[in-house]
């Protein structure tokens, strides 16, 4: 499994990916799933991947080859808009997984991959898109300006709270980390190191960080979540004392 998330904020974009990959529970490795691509000076992309590792690696190799090969074929340097980059990556993903689908399905394996593509092409706003294995895409919405791929359920709550509170770029990185930690704690196939990329609108450059398992930041965050969630609980009136519920009789049925 995998967990990648990305947020679109007023100031810019925040990306976070875990690095754990597994082929069965007894074959676990760490691979980068967050890739920064700057094919020309007028654009920058962050590509996050979930799904078949071999497929995502071949897609990245093809992206690189298309950039380095002469000719007028489509590549990340020639696309005019972010959605065209998404369609291009979607096409590569579909082609790669189709090439291997017969051999993979013979052993019951799934060769598909899903991507989050974010970034900016000069002259257009920064944006986030999710590219499906089928090659089509959706954009992060104004109501829910975040995207998740992989194991998305455990960490969704914190992203929603962040969005409702209109968090800034700095706060959003911490919330991303909280969302990642809740997921890793619940699903063994998601784990550190975590890659974090932060993009400030119109800067055309990415700040990137790697957070390791022994990070003091992670342990501090863990303590703080616990403290504040328990504080939230402590401040709440007791269910039994709450006026609307007081005096309700017990319900029971007997034989």
């Amino acid at each position: 499994m995998t967990y990648c998330l990305a947020m679109r904020l007023d100031e810019g974009l925040v990306f976070m990916s875990d690095t754990r990959t597994n082929a069965g529970i007894d074959n676990i490795s760490a691979y980068r799933k967050l890739h920064i691509l700057k094919p020309t000076d007028d654009r920058i992309f962050v590509l996050q991947s979930a799904g078949n590792l071999a497929t995502t690696q071949e897609v990245l190799d093809r992206i690189q080859r298309d950039l380095q090969s002469p000719g007028d074929h489509e590549n990340l340097a020639t696309v005019g808009r972010l959605f065209e980059a998404a369609l291009y990556i979607g096409r590569l993903g579909r082609e790669v997984s189709r090439n291997h689908s017969q051999a993979l399905s013979a052993v019951g394996a799934d060769g598909t991959a899903t991507f989050i593509l974010g970034g900016q092409i000069s002259g257009f706003p920064a944006d986030l898109l999710l590219v499906y294995p089928e090659g089509n895409y959706i954009r992060a919405s104004d109501d829910h300006p975040f995207l998740q791929i992989g194991e998305s359920k455990y960490g969704k709550f914190m992203l929603e709270i962040a969005v409702e509170a209109e968090a800034g770029l700095i706060a959003a990185t911490k919330i991303a980390l909280g969302s990642m930690m809740s997921t890793a704690r619940a699903n063994l196939s998601v784990g550190p190191p975590y890659d974090l990329a932060v993009y400030q609108n119109n800067s055309l450059q990415i700040d990137e960080f790697r957070i390791t398992a022994d990070s003091a930041l992670l342990s501090r965050l863990e303590v703080l979540w616990q403290k504040h969630i328990l504080n939230a609980v402590a401040e709440l009136p007791s269910v039994a004392d709450f006026e609307e519920l007081a005096g309700r009789p017990s319900v029971a049925f007997s034989g």
Copy 2:
């Protein structure tokens, strides 16, 4: 879908269930999924259900019929231990779903149900068991003394924090509500009213509450989660300022 959770604490047991049922997205109803059964004075059970609604209703009807029919057949009044009650309910669940399996599988429907059974038989400690559709069961463990059935992922984080902090009965009811709310917010097929049951060890009686969608308690809780989670975030040092990460160069690859 459904979300039911139960916690075993030093002082007693806490149970919470949503009430939403759906047969497709355009056919949504509210049904009770938390049932209190007191077949004799020396025992009390709470039964929570997820899965096929018809199956769970027929299981409840059979439990009732077994209690009311004369004879020496097994029922909830005659079982000597909680695990025997779990096996009895597991057998009923398996029988009911098997009776309907041919007709259901012909239309692609699943007739199975999963249960949480909690409570106490006088002379034995209170406990929690999860009964699988196959009729076997597991017990809540000392490390993770809570059980969940249905849509369990979204609300797991809060239960874990509660357990680590060794919350009391009152705090646990609030955490149960928080866990339920995070789930309902993420999954439309989980929704209010919520049924809450609280059992104090050796009391052999249950306090039961129903929390409706317009509950002031729910809106207060929502505000408090947001406030405290954002406080936790605000207290964390900025990722970029954090010593262990400072001065890391950006990584990029270009065509």
